[in-house]
């Protein structure tokens, strides 16, 4: 994936990492009912996606994989938070649904940002950038392992789904009554493999005790990128403050 050569791929890895982290922080800082003011935030990811020639379909598919987890996290809002946030004609939207959708949107933007970073920067370059930022090595290892674990999980899942499909009688997909053992097997198998991969990495000197001696200089183009991403997002965020006040005012009796 991280092999194309576009203006985005050529940016300094540290800058890309900072821009991504900053962007996610801004996304997360939006209020819990700021669904609508948050919409302009799709601007940066969209532009980066276009400039880096990352295929939309692929990214959306990978992103879809993370969403079930966000769904789980957000469902409690639906149940617990039942005030009315918005009335569209005769349709009233509960605050629970509203905050749930906001959470989903935040998760979606964050996941897309990470996926874009990973798609445009080789993983070892990202972790070196993290090392230079003095991020604790435990967190870097965790990040790398998560990245690889998700990869093996996907591979194992598709291999198992194929093996299942070839032997199941009828339709596409996995029957509900087989789902439990399928997921269980999948987790066991991918844990096993992740462990072997981790061994293979350790046997080749991972984690490295030292940074590679070749470091790139930050150029003015890199700085411009950082300023544009963070600047535009901050503006969208600032605009929201008024939006948030409006919504809350409407919510209060």
């Amino acid at each position: 994936m991280a092999v194309r050569d576009t203006p985005i791929h050529r940016l300094h890895p540290l800058i890309k990492l900072l821009a991504s982290l900053g962007f996610i922080l801004i996304v997360v800082s939006f209020g819990r009912y700021s669904l609508i003011p948050m919409i302009p935030m799709v601007f940066c990811p969209t532009v980066v996606m276009a400039l880096s020639e990352t295929p939309y379909g692929l990214l959306l598919k990978r992103c879809a994989l993370a969403l079930p987890f966000c769904l789980l996290a957000g469902i409690s809002n639906l149940v617990l938070d039942t005030g009315t946030a918005l009335t569209l004609g005769s349709l009233s939207i509960s605050t629970g649904l509203f905050s749930f959708l906001t959470l989903l949107f935040k998760a979606y933007l964050s996941v897309i940002t990470v996926l874009l970073l990973v798609a445009t920067t080789p993983i070892h370059v990202i972790s070196e950038a993290m090392q230079r930022l003095k991020i604790p090595s435990l967190m870097i290892t965790l990040f790398e392992m998560t990245y690889r674990y998700l990869g093996t999980l996907l591979e194992e899942a598709s291999a198992m789904a194929l093996a299942y499909g070839l032997r199941s009688r009828q339709q596409k997909g996995i029957e509900l009554r087989h789902m439990g053992s399928f997921v269980g097997q999948l987790l066991l198998r991918s844990f096993d493999r992740a462990e072997r991969i981790y061994q293979a990495m350790k046997l080749r000197g991972y984690p490295a005790a030292h940074l590679s001696p070749t470091e790139r200089k930050v150029s003015s183009r890199d700085i411009l990128y950082l300023v544009l991403v963070l600047g535009s997002s901050l503006i969208f965020r600032a605009l929201d403050i008024t939006g948030a006040v409006n919504i809350i005012e409407r919510l209060l009796p």
Binding site: P122, R204, G205, A208, S212
Partner: protein, 237 residues
């Protein structure tokens, strides 16, 4: 020189995988470790690189004992090629997989590139360097997996079932390559033909114990011995 002396290894679930195993391999020699499934071949290789530490006995590599304290140095000296190349190729591109070890050793990017290009050339897989390992054939993956170890230039290379997942042509190719690798080698396999061609010494493991050791020529054609070890003897032509 590798010495394995009275090595006993058991897994956390109390499976006794190796019992009192002993043998030596001289510098530059190539040892075949043969035996049926479950004989303990993979376990022995993992003990050689210190992923598993023996409950009893000692393993030394060029005089250095395999132990917790010596692991970084042992892993510089011994490279392991896993049975399943998918476990060994985890980077987005083959190039990065081969560069993974040298980068961890702190080499400059130029030195890394020289090492990787050189190894790709040697394995005749230069055309694969920008490909992802997910889309390679069994033979190509095997070559790349061996490459990830060769770029670290270890003095000993251990390989677990290197001919699994290979078609006859890729297997030929592999045997040729093994002949050209000058390092000390330990090859765990139940492919006796490959062991006969690529190794000058053999140890037969059965149920975690050494059943016999000697030259491949004298062991592999011995029908009685092979049958006792659940292996199929080679036929003289």
């Amino acid at each position: 020189m590798i010495t394995v002396e009275n090595v006993t290894v058991s897994y956390p679930d109390k499976t006794l995988a190796l019992r009192q195993v002993s043998f030596t391999v001289k510098e530059g020699q190539s040892l075949a470790l043969v035996g049926p499934n479950g004989a303990g071949k993979s376990t022995l290789l993992l003990a050689l690189v210190g992923v598993l530490l023996p409950q009893q006995g000692t393993i030394t590599i060029d005089g250095l004992k395999v132990a917790k304290e010596s692991l970084p140095e042992i892993r510089r000296r011994v490279g392991m090629v896993f049975q399943n190349p998918d476990d060994q190729l985890f980077m987005p591109m083959i190039y990065d997989d081969l560069a993974f070890g040298p980068r961890n050793m702190g080499f400059s990017e130029e030195k890394v590139r020289a090492l990787v290009e050189d190894t790709l050339e040697r394995l005749q897989i230069s055309h694969l360097k920008k490909r992802s390992s997910l889309k390679l054939s069994g033979g190509e993956k095997r070559m790349a997996a061996i490459g990830t170890v060769l770029t670290m230039n270890p003095s000993v290379i251990v390989l677990d079932e290197p001919s699994s997942f290979l078609d006859p042509k890729a297997r030929r190719n592999l045997i040729g390559l093994l002949g050209r690798i000058k390092q000390t080698k330990i090859i765990a396999t139940h492919d006796l033909d490959l062991a006969l061609e690529a190794c000058d010494q053999a140890v037969i493991l059965n149920k975690g114990m050494v059943a016999a050791s000697g030259s491949p020529q004298e062991l592999f054609f011995d029908e009685g011995l092979m049958e006792a070890c659940q292996l199929e003897a080679l036929k003289r032509r």
